[in-house]
Symmetry: C2
Subunit: 439 residues, 2 copies
C-alpha cells in the first residue's frame, strides 16, 4: 500500500508537471492560416487555356511541384516583375520576352522548391534548357515560353528533373486544372490562392481567373510573389500591359508581410482572345474599364490572400493614410506603419499601442506635423491634434484589437495625399518558420 501510495503521489506530481509544461509550450501552430478564406473558390475554366501539374521532386519527393499552363495561339501576355537588383535568371528571361508581340501560343512553366536565384551561369543555362525542351515538346518558339522558379536561393536548379516530367505534363493538360496549379506553386503557403471574376462586355461573358503563391519575403516594389492570371478577353498586348502595371501598383505593390523583397517573383497575365467580343485596344473605352475593374478586383483579391497567408499571421490589417502632402508621402507613412516590427508585434499582442503608430509616422520620412496628426482604430478616434482624444477609452481600443481584421487610420491633415496598404501581424510563428534551418 505504501509503495502504491508513493507511486500515486508520483503520478500526481508528474501530471502537474505535464500540465505546467504544456502551458509554457507554445500553442501548436495551426497548419492553415487562421486568416485563410473558408474554402478555395470555384475557378471557371478559361477558353484557350489548359494546365497540368506534376511531382518532379525538385526539392521534396512526392509533392506536386511543377505546373504547366499552355495558351492557344492568339494569346497575349503581360507582366510585372520584381525590382530586385539580384533578380533570378527566369525573371530576367521573362522580362526580355514580355514586350514581344506574337500570334503564336505561349506557355508558363513554374516550379516550386528551388528559386534558381544567385546561381550564376548555371542558372541561365537551366532556364535555357527548360525553354528549349518545352519548346520542342509543344512546338512553340522558346521566346513564347515563360519560366518561373520559387524556393531556396543559391542552389543549382536540378532542371533535368523538370525536363523529365515534361511528357507527363504535356499529356495531362486539362482546362480544369487551375486549382491543381494553385497547389503546385506553393512553398511555405498554408493554403492555395485563387480568385476569379466574370463580366459582360457587349453582352458577352468574359472570364478572368488567377492563382498566386506567396507568404514570406513579401514587400512592395513590384510583384513579390508568383501570380498567374488568365482571361479569355480579346485585348491588345499593350492595353493589357498598361492595365496590369497600373493594377499591380494598387494591389501587389500595396502589401507587405516582412518588408523583404524576393529575387524571383512575377505577375503574368495572359489573355486568350477567345471571348466573343471586340478587341480592347485602349484603357479608356467602356469595355476597357469594365475589364480593368474586374482584373483589378482579381489582383487585389489575390494580393489580400497573400497577406492572409503571411508567415505566422493571425491578423489582417489595413493601413489607410489620408491628409498627406502627396500620395507618395501617404504611401511612405502607410508602409512605415505596416513594416514596423513594433507596430506588428503590438497588433499580435492585441495591444492598442497607438504610440508605436506615432513613432512609425515619425520615422517614415514623410512630412508630418505631430500636432495635426489623428489616429483611428477602425471607427474609434484614438488620437487627434497631437494627443490622445478626449473621447477615447483604452478599453474600447483593447476591445477593437481583439478582432481578426483591423483598420488603422491615420490622417496627417496636411493635404489630400492618400494611400492604403495591407499587412499582417508579427508573431512567434514567423520566427519559428524562419529560424528553421534553410526553411
Amino acid at each position: 500500500m505504501g509503495a502504491k501510495k508513493t507511486l500515486k503521489k508520483k503520478i500526481k506530481s508528474l501530471k502537474a508537471q505535464v500540465k505546467q509544461a504544456a502551458q509554457s509550450a507554445p500553442a501548436k501552430a495551426s497548419l492553415v492560416s487562421p486568416l485563410a478564406p473558408a474554402q478555395f473558390p470555384d475557378l471557371p475554366a478559361i477558353r484557350g487555356l489548359r494546365l497540368s501539374t506534376a511531382a518532379a521532386g525538385v526539392r521534396y519527393k512526392g509533392r506536386t511541384d511543377v505546373m504547366l499552363a499552355v495558351l492557344d495561339p492568339g494569346s497575349v501576355v503581360a507582366g510585372t516583375f520584381t525590382r530586385s537588383a539580384t533578380r533570378a535568371a527566369s525573371v530576367l528571361d521573362a522580362q526580355s520576352k514580355i514586350t514581344r508581340d506574337s500570334a503564336e501560343g505561349a506557355a508558363f512553366l513554374v516550379n516550386s522548391g528551388n528559386a534558381n536565384a544567385f546561381t550564376g551561369a548555371a542558372g541561365v543555362a537551366s532556364v535555357t534548357a527548360l525553354c528549349a525542351a518545352l519548346s520542342q515538346k509543344l512546338g512553340l518558339p522558346a521566346a513564347r515560353i515563360f519560366t518561373s522558379s520559387t524556393g531556396v536561393i543559391g542552389e543549382a536548379l536540378p532542371h533535368d528533373r523538370i525536363v523529365a516530367v515534361l511528357d507527363e505534363l504535356g499529356s495531362g493538360l486539362s482546362a480544369a486544372a487551375l486549382p491543381d496549379a494553385a497547389r503546385a506553386i506553393m512553398t511555405t503557403d498554408t493554403f492555395p490562392k485563387g480568385a476569379s471574376a466574370k463580366v459582360d462586355i457587349d453582352g458577352q461573358p468574359v472570364t478572368i481567373a488567377g492563382v498566386a503563391k506567396g507568404s514570406g519575403m513579401i514587400a512592395p516594389d513590384m510583384a513579390t510573389m508568383l501570380v498567374y492570371i488568365f482571361t479569355d478577353a480579346k485585348i491588345t498586348r499593350s492595353a493589357l500591359q498598361s492595365m496590369v502595371s497600373r493594377q499591380t501598383d494598387r494591389s501587389f505593390n500595396c502589401i507587405t508581410v516582412d518588408s523583404d523583397t524576393s529575387t524571383s517573383d512575377m505577375v503574368l497575365v495572359a489573355a486568350t482572345a477567345q471571348a466573343d467580343m471586340p478587341v480592347i485596344e485602349d484603357t479608356t473605352s467602356d469595355a476597357a474599364q469594365i475589364f480593368n475593374d474586374a482584373l483589378g478586383a482579381v489582383m487585389l483579391d489575390l494580393a489580400h490572400q497573400v497577406v492572409r497567408d503571411g508567415e505566422g499571421a493571425t491578423k489582417f490589417v489595413e493601413v489607410a493614410v489620408s491628409g498627406a502632402r502627396s500620395d507618395a508621402d501617404a504611401r511612405k507613412v502607410a508602409m512605415a506603419i505596416a513594416n514596423s516590427p513594433l507596430v506588428k508585434t503590438a497588433i499580435a499582442g492585441e495591444d492598442p499601442n497607438w504610440g508605436r503608430i506615432v513613432m512609425a509616422v515619425g520615422k517614415s520620412g514623410a512630412e508630418a506635423d505631430r500636432d495635426r496628426l489623428s489616429i483611428r482604430f477602425g471607427p474609434h478616434l484614438v488620437a487627434s491634434q497631437g494627443q490622445v482624444a478626449p473621447s477615447y477609452a483604452e478599453q474600447v481600443g483593447a476591445e477593437y484589437m481583439r478582432q481578426q481584421e483591423l483598420v488603422i487610420g491615420v490622417d496627417l491633415r496636411l493635404g489630400v495625399g492618400a494611400a492604403t496598404v495591407w499587412t499582417c501581424d508579427l508573431t512567434h510563428r514567423y520566427i519559428d518558420i524562419n529560424t528553421d534551418y534553410r526553411s
Copy 2:
C-alpha cells in the same frame, strides 16, 4: 501487482510526456542579455560633474527612474537628436538650447517610464515645469537645463512626481554616481551601459565617461536612444559639436535592432573644461584628434552595448559592406541586410542562409551586380561572382553561425564605397517583449 504494473507504466508515459513538453517549451528567458559585457566598467569621476538618482514613481513604484547631472560653470554642451517628425517635447526643447553659448553651469534631468511624447500642449507644459523647478533649485537659467524622457509614448508625464524629488536629487549629488545614473535611465534594457576613456593631452590626463540606455526601437537616423557623455576636456562648444555629430554618424547611426526610430532620444555630451590643458578650438590639431578618437571609441562602445542589449538578441552581428559605388550605397546595402527580418531570423536559427543576404542586397536600392557580388561569413568565402564559391562547404558556414559574434562581409566589386553597421538577431524573445500589452 497488476495495479502496480499499470501505475509504473503510467509513470513511464507521464515521464515521457514531461520530457517532450519540456523540449517544446521555449528556453526560459535569461534576465540579462547573453551578449552583455561581463561586468559594468569602472567609470572614472569627471571633474566638474556631480550626479544623483531618485525613485519618483513615474510609472513604477520603488525603482530608480530619475537621474540628475549637474555641470559646473564653464561647461559646454553638444548633442545630436532623433530626426523623427514626431519628436517629443523634451527633444525639441533641448534642440532649441543646444546651440547657445554660455559660461554658466548646466544640468541634465532624465526620467524613464514615460517618454512624454505625443502629449501635445501638456507635454510642452511638463518640460517647462520641470525646467522652471530645477532652474530655481539649482540657480541656473532654464536655458541651461536639458530634460529627456523615455518610456511609454502618448501618456501625460506626471511631472509633479519628478518635481517632488528635486530636493532629494539636489542634496544627493555626488561625483561617483555615474553607475547609478546608468541604471536610472533603463527601460527594457537588461543591463546598464557605461564606457570610458582616458587620454593624455599635452601631458595632462583627460577623462571621458558616458552612460546609455536603449534596447528596442533602435534604428539609425540620429541618436535613437539616450546617451550622456561627460568629459573634463577643455574644448569649445563648436569643436565639441562637430566631433559629436561626426562620431554619431559612425556609431549610434550605424546600429539597428528593429529598424524602428524613437521619438524621444538624444545624445548629450558635456565638457567641464576642468582638465589642465589648452582649449581645443578646432578638429584638426593633434590634441583635437586624440580627443576625437577617444570620444569616438566611447560612443562606439556604448552603441555596441545598445545592440548587445537588443530586445531578445542572442547574436551580435557586424555587417561590413565594401566595393560599393559610394559610401551611401554601401550603407543602404548594410542596413538592408541588418534590418531584414529574414536575415535576422536565419541568424537566430544559426542557418548560414546566404541566399537571404543576396535577397537583401537586391532590395536595398543600391547599385549591385548579381554576378560580381561576393559574400563572406567571417573569414569564409561563401559566394563569389554570383554563385556559391567552389571552396565553400555548407558545414563550415553552419559551424561559423554557431558563434555569438558574427561578421557578414559583402563585396559588391563596383567601386570603393564602404560601410559597417551592427545589429542583432530576431528571436522569440523580441516577440515576447513586444507583444506584451503596453510593454
